[in-house]
Symmetry: C2
Subunit: 250 residues, 2 copies
């Protein structure tokens, strides 16, 4: 049985989850930002991560649907606007498609998800199920990975810009807006969790929700690393043009 | 747009999915049956696959709940009985626990799933979502991997018995009953799919359901291979005693 933590201690535990389990520590993330990824690996990363980006407004709509307070819903709905934009071509998802466009990926392939790794689909599906099936507190706590995203975004953008000549600041426009949005969103979510996790069980559930979310982001990178570095992708998944050329030459 | 296939052609396509995508082709499966797995890898396999075994009666109950015909339900309910048994200690799940017991794994660890890889949990969760959310035809078609299981079971059992001195026929008792059950179950499911996939779209959906199921079994082995052979397991996942000893010695 866990003890009831003071808000500061709970916040410390949550930040500790990020320090030890957030994907800034993942070997694929380190490879991506240090310029060691092949062009095909960057493409596979962008194509697979699109499914995660695309699920965010649906995830937030599930959370919104469970909020009984109009003030909270007004705060939370901004997340949906940020990702879906005010009109066609705007918002986070459109900016992610700018990235996949610039990498030369076909939009229909990207948007359909048909070339994504099965493990990517299962991870995204697990995230949507989590915010639907668990308590509102856990659903909100699972969003707290945004506490840690500003640091990884800065390093990723700088690393990608200096290492990949096909990546421009416009290609990475998605990330420009994110640190400010992520700070605003995670401040709100953290305050909610610290205020509403009032029993040891609720506090442990909130910590577990953040661990779950970290494990989901981690599993997506594991799957990329496995398929595109150590082993082979699932037969129906994306094959980078450079890998196809290499095979043909063998 | 696909053409409507004659039943024989649809059956051929379904068998082709198995020949090209079933996990009898997976490197981890080949390693397991050829005796190349370390004791820790066999333990990790058994511990993770427990979650899949344990979800089977729930998966079948979801399918049962969607059947409107008493005759079909009478056929299908046998699957639940096979896995849950007539009484405590019987049935497929209990036999799988005999395997994890003999490997020296703690039952509470195995049954709680707390040491399973996140990707295993996501794959199992995806399977449960699939049979709940897709059509009954697709849910039934996803069970057709059992068409291919008798062949893999025979090779796996023979390979494990001859290569791992800690594995006895009693350890692998789960697999003794499965080929007969799988033959009976897949004969029924195949006849249902061939009879009820009456439009090109339904036929493609049935083929896609079997591909999904194969991808889910494949992703579970990918995750094991990644975590226990190429990279590192998620911090909260199972660490085999031999790996812990190796680390301590370094």
């Amino acid at each position: 049985m866990s003890d009831l933590l003071a808000p500061e201690a709970l916040e410390r535990r949550l930040r500790e989850v990020g320090e030890t389990r957030y994907h800034h520590l993942h070997p694929f993330q380190l490879r991506l930002q240090s310029g060691e990824c092949s062009r095909g690996e960057v493409e596979a990363w962008a194509l697979n991560r699109y499914l995660y980006q695309a699920c965010i407004p649906q995830k937030d709509a599930h959370i919104l649907a469970r909020m009984e307070d109009a003030g909270m819903r007004r705060e939370w709905r901004q997340r949906i606007i940020d990702h879906d934009g005010e009109r066609e071509g705007e918002g986070g998802i459109a900016k992610w498609l700018k990235l996949t466009d610039d990498l030369g990926l076909d939009r229909a392939d990207v948007m359909s998800g048909r070339l994504a790794l099965p493990a990517t689909k299962f991870a995204v599906n697990a995230y949507l199920s989590f915010v639907k099936d668990r308590s509102l507190l856990e659903a909100i706590a699972s969003s707290l990975t945004e506490l840690f995203s500003p640091m990884v975004i800065k390093t990723r953008v700088a690393g990608m810009l200096s290492n990949y000549d096909y990546v421009t600041p416009e290609t990475l426009a998605y990330f420009t807006a994110r640190p400010v949005q992520a700070k605003r969103d995670s401040d709100f979510a953290l305050a909610y969790v610290l205020e509403n996790a009032r029993t040891p069980a609720e506090q442990q559930a909130a910590i577990g929700a953040l661990e779950f979310k970290c494990s989901m982001l981690w599993a997506m990178l594991d799957a990329l690393e496995h398929a595109y570095i150590y082993a082979q992708p699932w037969p129906d998944a994306f094959k980078p043009a450079d890998a196809v050329r290499r095979e043909a030459a063998e």
